[in-house]
């Protein structure tokens, strides 16, 4: 896969310096094109061919995510993303308060590049990644909650919800997870899915990745405990599937359930969630 890297400029925080270094190392290790964010902002035409010919990798330094926001403002499709601040937390390293690249910063940049190169080498799965053959039938009838001109759908049966607007649909000892119609409408067009890693073990109400729209970053709060056995690769490559079909093709991950009977006690059925949605819509 041919790639181009858009990174933080590296002139505000140490994490930015690492992002910039990672971009340079990606050019060396994977022959990626480097996109200067300042020049891109000044002249999109300069990079039109680069963007047309390459998959875009964005490397943000800190959670301000300037590079991501620039890409979104220009309607650029992001293929992969790295946030140095998150990578730093995972690494256990610390960065000195300087914009000059120190030893730990260089090591972190190399770790990021190694991860990107490895993910580029792995072929993208055509089907949901993981090993799950469970077939989930499409949702049946819907309850409709109305507020002003808005309508929010909630499947009448088979789905359970937490109060963070994430649904779970159990089937045997596995379950699919996604976000509700109310939440997808609140987020508006979802443009990036940061899915959890395969085999991740998560507690009930733990984090199952994040979704990003131009409006918000949304943490997917796990409605149940379990182990990730599949990630919906179609949603990762086309996040607006969540907007189009939040309870069906827009599922995000599949878990092997570890504590369903107890977890269910803290979840809402469709009627109870409908009341919650009504309340939230009125208060918003």
């Amino acid at each position: 896969m041919k790639t181009a890297v858009l990174s933080c400029t590296g002139l505000d925080k140490p994490e930015g310096s690492v992002a910039r270094e990672a971009a340079i190392r990606m050019a060396e290790a994977a022959n990626s094109e480097i996109i200067c964010p300042v020049l891109l902002n000044r002249s999109l035409a300069r990079y039109e061919k680069v963007l047309a010919d390459n998959s875009l990798i964005v490397v943000d330094g800190c959670s301000t995510r300037c590079a991501s926001k620039l890409a979104e403002s220009l309607d650029l499709k992001i293929d992969r993303k790295v946030l140095v601040a998150d990578a730093l937390k995972s690494s256990g390293l610390t960065l000195e308060p300087t914009l000059r690249l120190e030893t730990n910063g260089a090591a972190l940049a190399q770790t990021i590049v190694d991860g990107l190169v490895q993910s580029l080498a792995a072929p993208a799965p055509a089907q949901p990644s993981g090993t799950s053959s469970t077939e989930f039938p499409p949702p049946g009838e819907y309850l409709i909650v109305t507020h002003d001109k808005f309508e929010f759908r909630i499947p009448v049966s088979d789905y359970w919800f937490n109060e963070n607007d994430v649904w779970v649909r159990p089937l045997g000892d596995v379950a699919r997870i996604g976000i509700s119609d109310y939440m997808q409408q609140s987020l508006t067009d979802i443009n990036f899915v940061d899915a959890p890693a395969m085999h991740l073990s998560v507690e009930q109400f733990g984090e199952l990745g994040t979704l990003e729209s131009s409006k918000a970053v949304f943490e997917v709060v796990a409605p149940v405990a379990g182990t990730v056995i599949a990630v919906n690769s179609e949603v990762v490559s086309n996040p607006t599937l969540i907007n189009e079909d939040p309870y069906g093709k827009g599922w995000i991950v599949q878990l092997k359930l570890s504590n369903w009977p107890e977890d269910r006690e803290l979840l809402l059925n469709s009627d109870a969630y409908a009341k919650t949605v009504k309340h939230k819509a009125e208060e918003a």
């Binding site: 800190c62 959670s63 301000t64 963070n164 949304f218 939230k280 208060e283």
Partner: protein, 95 residues
């Protein structure tokens, strides 16, 4: 937005809201502009940003911290909060 209860527990009994580290905060106001629940308020003086409405914060939501470049926002431990909620639910159910 104010929610009267969360998982059957009165919202005001659940300690879940951001804490601002004023050593790190640059008062960029990204979080205040982002949060639709008016958890933050801008003020005059040295501390131009405060957590004015902690109970407006959606329990388990940490989205504002994901907009914070200087990493100045922190939240309580989730598992400890869940344990507290479960305990309060049990107390409610025996009453």
């Amino acid at each position: 937005m104010s929610e009267a209860t969360f998982m059957g527990v009165p919202r005001e009994k659940i300690v879940w809201h951001p804490t601002i580290d004023y050593q790190k905060c640059t008062f960029c106001m990204e979080c205040a502009n982002f949060c639709p629940h008016r958890v933050f308020e801008q003020r005059e003086g040295d501390r131009r940003l405060v957590v004015a409405n902690p109970n407006n914060c959606v329990v388990f939501c940490r989205a504002c911290s994901k907009t914070c470049g200087p990493d100045a926002l922190s939240f309580p431990d989730k598992q400890a909060t869940i344990a507290q909620i479960k305990q309060m639910r049990e107390q409610v159910s025996v009453q």
